[in-house]
């Protein structure tokens, strides 16, 4: 969804304003919204992608004007109604017409709090599930697809159509684009892709400030144009100057300093090793 929530790279929001000695919450109601949201989430009334989607559905002007916990309140109210835990009439009147319906008994409070210790580890298990094979590996050149779906997505506009290099394979995760819409988990690998500033923001952004963005496999395709020269450049930084005009696109995002490759390596290696074991937990 090309929504106003997709803020990366926008201008005009002014400097970042910080508060000295900021409290965790700014009012009693924020605390209650936080705890109710987490309880309903812990009880699986909705998943995290549905929750984000519910926030993104706010009208743009309201989204921008709302505080963080006002957004949470909006999403909590709408999801509780959509999921059948409450009716719209009950929400308006503030009184229960009936106890929770039978199909919501899984949501009933069992005193466990739904808090820090009680989250299950199914997502962690999925992450290391060997049945899902990765299509890409670290070091490969990719292009973020130019997708503009009306539904929920986690591919920000600033990266669409842009070329980058896979830095890490982070393992298997559910796919937000379907998971937010009750269309299944569609598990797939997520990769951290490095996009150079110049590639994202144009030739005058030649400072070394790459963005490392996590991309689901379905967001990516192989960068066929840049594949070959890129590999050469990565292996021998000195060869970069010799890049042919045909390789221009690749040279634009070439991994310049060898140091960067080196800095990334130890983690990449240890992470790959961590995944070799059948079940790490």
């Amino acid at each position: 969804m090309n929504g106003v929530h997709d803020l990366g790279g926008m201008h005009g929001f002014g400097p970042v304003v910080r508060e000295q000695d900021e409290p965790v919450f700014h009012s009693e109601w924020e605390k209650r919204v936080f705890a109710m949201m987490l309880t309903a989430f812990g009880r699986r009334v909705y998943n995290v992608d549905e929750f984000r989607r519910a926030i993104e559905r706010m009208p743009p002007a309201r989204y921008l004007a709302a505080t963080y916990y006002e957004k949470w309140l909006h999403a909590l109210e709408s999801l509780l109604v959509e999921k059948g835990a409450l009716t719209a009439e009950e929400l308006l009147s503030g009184h229960a017409a009936a106890r929770a319906p039978a199909n919501a008994t899984g949501l009933l409070d069992d005193g466990s709090g739904g808090g820090v210790e009680s989250f299950d580890d199914s997502a962690v298990k999925l992450r290391f599930d060997k049945r899902f094979k990765p299509r890409f590996k670290a070091g490969e050149r990719v292009v973020a697809r130019n997708l503009n779906p009306a539904h929920h997505t986690r591919l920000p506009r600033y990266a669409r159509g842009k070329r980058g290099v896979i830095r890490y394979d982070q393992g298997v995760f559910v796919f937000p684009d379907t998971h937010a819409h009750g269309q299944g988990a569609k598990p797939q690998h997520v990769y951290t892709v490095a996009f150079e500033a110049k590639e994202l923001w144009g030739a005058d952004h030649n400072e070394r400030a790459p963005v490392y963005l996590d991309c689901w496999e379905d967001y990516l395709e192989r960068d066929r144009a840049g594949a070959k020269p890129a590999a050469k450049t990565a292996a021998k930084p000195a060869a970069k100057a010799a890049a042919k005009p045909a390789a221009k696109a690749a040279a634009k995002v070439a991994i310049k300093p060898a140091a960067r490759v080196r800095a990334a390596k130890p983690i990449a290696r240890t992470r790959a090793r961590a995944r070799k074991g059948p079940t790490k937990r």
Binding site: H5, D6, L7, G8, G9, F13, G14, P15, V16, V17, R18, E22, F25, S27, E28, W29, R32, A35, T39, A40, F41, G42, I55, Y68, Y69, E70, L73, L76, L80, L91, A96, L107, D109, G113, G114, G115, V116, F119, V124, R127, R154, Y158, Q170, F173, V190, E207, R208, A209, P210, V211, Y212, L213, D214, W216, A259, R260, A263, T270, A274, R281
Partner: protein, 212 residues
Amino acid sequence: MSEGHDHHNAPLSEPAQRVKALEQLLVEKGLVNPQALDELIDTYEQRVGPRNGARVIARAWTDPEYRKRLFDNAAKAIEELGFPPGPQGEHMMVVENTPRVHNLVVCTLCSCYPWSVLGLPPVWYKSTAYRASAVNDPRGLLRDFGVDVGDKEIRVWDSSSEMRYLVMPERPAGTENLSEDELAELVTRDSMIGTGLPKSPAQRARESRAAK
């Protein structure tokens, strides 16, 4: 302070009214237990916060074996110190500042943040200004935060997936003889987001003198 809590005669704000009605409704339905909500709030006000992350960093600075485990499997190594992954801490990666690279964490699409080690995010981290500018002008942003990283590469981590990133700042100079506890005192929340640097021992000493 809080609406309607300390000023019983003041009218409730619009969201405060809605929240009160919602909680009452969910309690009537048997869907939430107010005491359980209190406990959850207490957990995030008292137990889960940036001091947890500071312990992790200080341990990694002083214990090479722990440091290795932290890079191998961050969530597990963090749990070792008694900090359960919980929500927004299940999939962690620690990214290390070096003499050449400075890391900065943002979530441009919402406000993803590593709760298990940093607690709940400050308002500025969730602000449109931070989310908009961190990817596009990180050097200018750091300048506004009073942070000068020279000509280091600034690597901006946009937390678009369920991975959560914790920055391991560089250990300040002149701290060779400090204990793990003393080192943890130098690690600020912002230094673990990348919008700050750890305190120097001298800075820390000045602050504690001023507090007395």
